[in-house]
Amino acid sequence: MTDEPLLEVRDLKKHYPITQGILKKQVGSVKAVDGISFDIPRGETLGLVGESGCGKSTAATSIIQLEEPTAGEVLFNGDARNAAETAADARHRNDVTEFDPEELKQFRRQAQMIFQDPSSSLDPRMRVGESIAEPLRIHGIEDKAARQEIARNLLDRVGLSRDDYHRFPHEFSGGQKQRISLARALVTNPELIVADEPVSALDVSVQAEILTLMKDIQEEFGLSILLISHDMAVVREICDRVAVMYLGEIVEIGETEELFRNPQHPYTQALLSSIPVPDPTVDRAGTTLSGDVPSPSNPPSGCRFHTRCPDVIQPEGYDFEQEHWRAVMDLRTRLAQRDIDIEAVREFVATESDRDVEPGAVPDDAAKAAIRNEFGIPGSLQDGRAESVLAEALELIVNEDLAGADELLSTEFETVCERDAPSLSETAPGHQSACHLDSTTATTDSVESAVSDD
């Protein structure tokens, strides 16, 4: 069965415990990677993109077993583990997370990793030739002359000189060092290369060279590559398929062309709109995200993106301008964090106003207006019922009852986005996205059932 994917990741999780005190009592966990699944077919490149801190690097180190995953399977169907072994009853035999030391060592020969920082990924005290040949030595090639010849040959093939064998890493530029890292990763003839931000530390012109080299090498040897990057442009350059990660989850995955042409998930749309277009006459309605990336130790309920999503679904029975609804959601997010200081608001109003007023003497209406202004909520919402709920909440806020306001808004303005976590669903062949907006019929069904359950 050569058509089965080389790498299958199933519901991979990596949680880091947060401990407190001398006894290291666990008080929580950072869910860096929280259940991701994808396949990488042979000879294909999958790009894993997302903002920094979304868990993409942790995903890489967990797949390559530099860190032990908390849960999930990583099935590696390398050449040495052929179809006979991978029969349905013995699938677990290919699960990297269950490998014994010997199997793991073999896996480490067949799967290599390239790191981000070219200045620290090569041992500064080792000649680059030795660095390249080191994996051979580790995996039992004892003929020193052969190792040296292979390393020299590889140096030549990644665009450096055979005589660079005896030079030290600090004698090379960043791009050259990354070529050396690539040579080192190639030397054991792996089937999978995991590249963690391989070009993000390089100049744009050098980036293109390295990416071209990676592409050439992949075509020549039929490698599978997992490319981790925060840069959509880099991913578009060499990836066959792209998976978009947000807060430890994959929100959208699809063919590169399809995903760039027709992004489904609002987060992907926002990421794509961040790519600069080298044409000043193009007028783009850029999507901007509000708020900060939430902490992975306490991710938002439901769809994790709902705290920042510009297209967050409106609550049943109300009718907002989408922009205003987003503004109200921002207020709710801040309320949930109890991050509104009414004293500070009054003080702000007092200093802004022309007349001399004591902060304590600022009228409630002025404070409410300031809050509306801060979040971009208009003086009056078009939906009268929504406006009355909001007014009530603001009243509670100026009376310093943040919990009450939070409670009120949460029950009145509850959206499906915060209640249900959307699962990946197919929007086009091979293109999956995890958003309640994608499959409107499906979601309304589940929403209704959820509502009737309550």
């Binding site: 041992d123 580790i138 600090h170 054991t188 040897f221």
Partner: protein, 396 residues
């Protein structure tokens, strides 16, 4: 390049199904050499201890009247370690050696220091085999060094020319003699050996224990780390000076005792250096890279962690070695030292005669001073030469 099946020249030509990870211990030639020679040394020691009668010379069987002491055995071990892990690697990697040497030789004072220390080392090793131990010879007391003179009244028999009531020095005693008539040249040569023994052997103990404890603590982390480092804290508050006085009082002073005490109680700082450095290095991507490619913990520590922390050990040692030598001199000066002809003792002995016989204290003092200075210069230059990164960083 002839394509040969047995030696692939391209990585994709390797047939990995043929490659069996060999189970044998991957001993480098130098580790093997160290092992063999240490075994030989151990055999000799056992022979000396069990076969040779107590008061006979070790090599009596081959007609060489030399009694090998425990100190000698230990010094031999130190020299073997230095040879196999410093000298041999330099010859193994001629490229690297050339590279370091080119950088090192730009530093003039360091070159001079190296020359001086090598001379001190070799004279200290060979001299005592050739020269007799400095002996009392009262008739020859207070002979001045060559080209200088002393009032005739100070000496009993002047070996040189006497003119205007002054006794002139001769080449018989180029550095003069002490108040007991001991030849200062002999004392200097014997003192060289004592200083080298003290410096190198204590440093050897410190390096071995310090880097072992440091790397293990850094790489293991957790309770092991905690335990080792707290022990270091306790040890560092412990005054080895007092322990030395106590043991000297109990058993009498000996050089071996001095070396053992200062070696076994001074590795705390080195361990800390190594640990902090190793901790920093374990976060480096090349360590992760080695791990991701299947390198064992032992390989990572030996091939990546230790070489990259070595520069911090070298600075540490370049301060430790002279401080050991200085300590030994200070103890000898105070009269607690071992009964060996050391520089410190001679400085102390000449103290009372400074008014007319200045050379007794001054000459060993100058040697002590220059030796310590030379170690400091050498350490500095080695750090620069061995740390290519620091240099490029400061240049850019």
């Amino acid at each position: 390049m002839a394509a040969d099946d047995s030696t692939p020249t391209r990585f994709e030509d390797i047939d990995w199904t043929d490659v069996e990870p060999s189970g044998r211990l991957d001993l480098s030639p130098k580790a093997l050499g160290m092992l063999v020679s240490t075994t030989l040394l151990a055999v000799l020691f056992l022979y000396d201890y069990f076969v040779v009668p107590k008061n006979n010379d070790t090599f009596e069987a081959i007609g060489w009247a030399y009694q090998v002491t425990q100190l000698d055995y230990f010094f031999a071990l130190t020299l073997l370690a230095i040879f196999f892990f410093t000298v041999v690697p330099l010859f193994e990697n001629p490229h690297l050696t050339r590279y370091y040497w080119d950088r090192f030789k730009q530093n003039r004072p360091a070159m001079l220091s190296l020359g001086f220390l090598l001379a001190t080392f070799f004279i200290g090793m060979v001299g005592p085999l050739v020269l007799s131990k400095p002996e009392l010879s009262l008739f020859a007391k207070y002979q001045p060094p060559v080209y200088t003179s002393v009032p005739k009244s100070a000496v009993i028999e002047c070996t040189g020319r006497v003119s205007d009531g002054m006794c002139h020095g001769t080449w018989q005693y180029p550095f003069g003699t002490t108040g007991g008539g001991k030849d200062i040249l002999n004392i200097i040569v014997y003192g060289m050996q004592v200083s080298m023994k003290v410096g190198l052997m204590s440093a050897f103990i410190v390096t071995v224990i310090g880097s072992l404890v440091g790397t293990v603590a850094a790489y293991s982390g957790g309770l092991v780390d905690e335990f080792l480092m707290r022990y270091v804290d306790i040890q560092q508050t412990f005054p080895s000076f007092l322990l030395f006085l106590l043991l000297t009082y109990q058993f009498g002073g000996s050089l071996l005792l001095f070396i053992a005490i200062f070696g076994f109680f001074s590795w705390g700082n080195t361990a800390r250096y190594v640990r902090s450095n190793a901790l920093q290095k374990t976060e480096e991507e090349y360590i992760k890279s080695a791990k991701a490619t299947g390198g064992s913990t032992w390989l990572i520590i030996r091939r990546h962690l230790v070489p990259n922390t070595a520069s911090s050990i070298i600075t540490d040692l370049s301060l430790l070695i002279p401080s050991f030598i200085l300590f030994e001199a200070a103890f000898a000066f105070l009269g607690f030292g071992a009964d060996v002809p050391s520089w410190g003792r001679t400085i102390a002995a000449g103290r009372a005669d400074l008014s007319f016989a200045w050379w007794i204290s001054t000459i060993p003092g100058v040697f002590l001073f220059v030796t310590i200075l030379a170690f400091n210069y050498l350490g500095d230059a080695l750090l620069d030469a061995l740390n290519p990164q620091a240099d490029t960083e400061s240049e850019s």
